[in-house]
């Protein structure tokens, strides 16, 4: 494979044949200036305003939709009996899934010492948080009486009643709130040193104060760094089981139910893999335009894109296995319910959704991602990432809708049709996400400067033999 890549490309490390994770020629100062410059510049690019406005405009869909929703009730959506869950839950799972890549990049890859993650982890984490914000909207607004949604939390009350902890939805409350909290904390902790840098490089007094406050007085003390590293590692260690558990718990929303098509043990791994799959697709969707727009090709290199595509290939494979296993089990289980569910999913009135899902999630990505050429083809990756995101949305659609609308009792079969309000709120959350993301790239360092610095060759501490020996001696 390596032979097919032009070896004279300066971005390729001649020893490994891989693309470098950071373009040669950078030093501490240059990376700091480049990244901090995006935030601290006084010349905001016009495109940024345009993007922010566009996101904001689309996000009004959420506002309008939710206003009408609160006025009228969830009946403005397409939900009905038997399909009592619809877009809201589909979107919730989709958004949460997208969020997973961020945690994966910042936590799991950190634990595995995958240093290439450093350039992309900050905005992957931001993506996580914004995705969780979008996702978190849905469970709140999808309940019939959203003004009572706080009943899902255990708090002392005059009714002496409490949440019911056998319900996966109660687990969701714990999982999603923990996930949101830990993600934000992890994200913030990661930014503390960078806030210090921004404080020190800012010229506007207001920016100085704001970043100064946010940095909590960070001064790069070595003792701080050691505790900081320790905390980061711990947070990474905690986030790893967390991220796995969150989508597992969300898969329990389905797997715990008795419904054929939901009631399956394969859901946890397959949901987690699917989440990472869609999450990486979203990272690509975001990274590709941003690196272009802010000329960050030096730090978000083809190596990153290649690696992410490889992760997608792997997780996509797990997802494909999940689909295959669902089909197999519906036959092998010898259960009429399962058999009918699968048949209906494929050939029933909503069979089209299943085939879209197979096409976009399996057929297109899993055949093409084997090719390195395509993996480093930026345009192709961008298009593919959109395709996979669509596919993953359809996966949730297939799971939620096609299992529900024809279940056990044929008399209660129905159908599901989304309304304009469903679409408005869904698209609105995309706008909200875009809006938040544009704010992020403008005001926060989207690439962790301290971590990029660590990847530079200048980092190496060269020592003479005697000094090293004395250190060892003293340590003993």
């Amino acid at each position: 494979m390596a032979t097919k890549v032009p070896l004279n490309d300066p971005m390729i490390d001649p020893r490994t044949g891989e693309y470098a994770v950071i373009a040669p020629g950078h030093n501490f100062k240059s990376v700091t200036q480049k990244i901090a410059g995006i935030v601290l510049t006084s010349n905001t690019p016009l495109g940024w305003f345009f993007g922010l406005m566009l996101g904001g405009a689309v996000a009004t869909g959420v506002v309008i939709g939710c206003t009408w929703l609160f006025l009228k009730g969830v009946g403005i959506w397409g939900v009905t009996i038997p399909g009592a869950w619809g877009f809201a839950i589909i979107n919730f799972v989709w958004w949460i899934g997208i969020g997973h890549a961020g945690t994966l990049i910042s936590a799991i890859l950190l634990l595995f010492k995958q240093t290439w993650r450093n350039s992309i982890n900050r905005f992957a984490e931001a993506m996580t948080i914004f995705a969780v914000v979008c996702a978190g909207t849905f469970p709140l607004i999808h309940v019939g009486r959203p003004w009572l949604a706080y009943w899902l939390f255990p708090y002392p009350n005059t009714m002496n009643v409490w949440p019911q902890f056998r319900s996966p939805l109660a687990w969701d409350v714990f999982a999603v709130s923990t996930y949101a909290t830990i993600s934000i904390v992890f994200w913030y902790v990661g930014m503390i040193p960078d806030f210090g840098t921004l404080r020190d490089r800012a010229t506007m007094p207001f920016a100085k104060y704001m970043y100064g406050l946010l940095s909590l007085g960070w001064r790069g003390s070595t003792r701080h760094w050691i505790r900081y590293e320790s905390a980061s590692l711990l947070l990474a260690g905690l986030s790893t089981p967390l991220v796995l558990s969150v989508h597992t718990v969300i898969s329990f929303d389905f797997a715990v139910a008795a419904l054929a098509g939901w009631h399956t043990t394969i859901f946890p791994p397959y949901f987690v893999a699917g989440a990472i799959y869609s999450g990486f697709a979203m990272v690509l969707t975001l990274a590709i335009p941003i690196r272009k727009f802010y000329h960050l090709e030096d730090m978000v290199t083809l190596r990153h894109l290649d690696n992410m595509a490889k992760v997608m290939l792997g997780t996509g494979g797990i997802v494909a296995y999940g689909y295959g296993m669902e089909v197999f089990m519906s036959w092998y289980s010898a259960s009429h319910w399962e058999f009918f569910m699968m048949w209906n999913r494929m050939f029933g009135p909503m069979g089209w959704a299943y085939w879209i899902l197979i096409l976009t999630n399996i057929a297109i990505p899993l055949t093409s991602l084997w090719s390195r050429k395509l993996r480093v083809n930026v345009t192709y990756l961008f298009v593919l990432s959109l395709i996979v995101n669509t596919g993953m949305w359809f996966e949730r659609f297939v799971i939620v809708v096609t299992s529900l609308y024809r279940d056990y009792l044929p008399s209660s079969w129905g159908t599901y049709r989304a309304t304009k309000w469903d679409y408005m709120i869904y698209v609105g959350t995309m706008g909200l996400f875009t809006f938040l993301f544009f704010l992020f790239v403008r005001f926060l360092p989207m690439i962790p400067m301290s971590e990029i610095r660590m990847m530079l060759p200048q980092t190496k501490v060269k020592r003479g033999g005697s000094d090293a020996a004395s250190v060892v001696e003293e340590r003993v």
Binding site: P156, T158, M159, N160
Partner: protein
């Protein structure tokens, strides 16, 4: 490149952090207290009624029985608000010109209802039933307080779900003999003021099959004793040590109670009070 922040900022920012924490905690505590406060529960509030009717005057002063006005308290879910006719029964003769009673006379003359403001107002999805409580030994005062000492009616208890559950989870603490239901000053048995109870007939309505008295049935002369001695054989353990004390044989079937706990236990069994599990089941109050 000097300091961005002033020397004092360290203290300031740490203080604000502590303060924020305190505010959050105190907000939580305040809300928790607020939901139980009279502002929410309306405990002790005396709404402006068209007639400043005094329960104290009518019950304590004149000795009217509760059921004289709240006629259906033993028969139906609602205790019943007396019709104007009930007022007029007396006030056609006394206080016929009192200005305070003008709304009553108006109502009587025009046929329009006196518009009272509900003092004990449960949410509409709560189905409270007076008759079963009254028939099973929950006195008026247990929920409504000392109505005979209220010049103007107010709500004594929170009437919140946790308050209801307090009793539904442990009904024994509030049970009293059915004969004492309307007794406003009932305080439960104590060593000074014991209560004697006896199971009379089996079957029949709850209210009739237990007989209780606050006066020693043994000392009460042969009349009661004979009456109570009849159907039951001798030999309840408690009666044995009471016998010599009084010099007269206490009717064998009577049990003496000196604490609410004992009495509650006894009455729970006698009245067939349902188990706490059943009483705190949702459908008991919500339909």
């Amino acid at each position: 490149m000097a300091q961005v922040f002033d020397r004092s900022s360290n203290a300031l920012v740490r203080f604000s952090l502590v303060l924020t924490g305190l505010i959050v905690i105190s907000l939580g505590v305040a809300l928790d207290q607020l939901q139980r406060s009279p502002w929410v529960t309306r405990q002790g509030q005396r709404p402006d009624q068209p007639v400043p009717f005094s329960h104290k005057h009518h019950v304590e002063g004149l000795g009217l029985q509760c059921q004289y006005c709240h006629t259906q308290v033993e028969k139906a879910a609602y205790a019943g608000i007396p019709p104007t006719k009930t007022c007029i029964n007396c006030h056609a003769q006394i206080w016929t010109n009192a200005a305070l009673l003008e709304p009553v006379r108006q109502s009587w003359a025009t046929g329009a209802s006196i518009q009272w403001i509900r003092v004990h107002d449960l949410p509409d999805y709560v189905y409270f039933n007076h008759d079963i409580h009254v028939n099973k030994g929950i006195g008026c005062a247990s929920c409504h307080g000392r109505v005979d000492e209220m010049p103007l009616m107010y709500q004594q208890n929170t009437l919140q779900m946790e308050w209801c559950l307090n009793c539904h989870r442990n009904p024994g603490v509030n049970l009293r003999p059915v004969s004492e239901i309307y007794n406003m000053s009932w305080a439960g048995p104590s060593t000074d003021k014991p209560v004697w109870c006896s199971s009379t007939v089996k079957g029949g309505a709850t209210a009739q099959n237990v007989s209780c008295t606050t006066t020693n049935p043994g000392a009460n002369g042969p009349e009661v004793a004979m009456l109570e001695n009849g159907p039951h054989g001798p030999g309840r353990t408690e009666s044995a040590d009471l016998g010599p004390l009084m010099g007269v044989a206490i009717p064998a079937s009577y049990q003496k109670f000196t604490s609410q706990a004992e009495l509650g236990k006894y009455l729970t069994a006698q009245y067939h009070i349902r188990t706490p599990n059943e009483l705190s089941s949702c459908e008991t109050c919500h339909r």
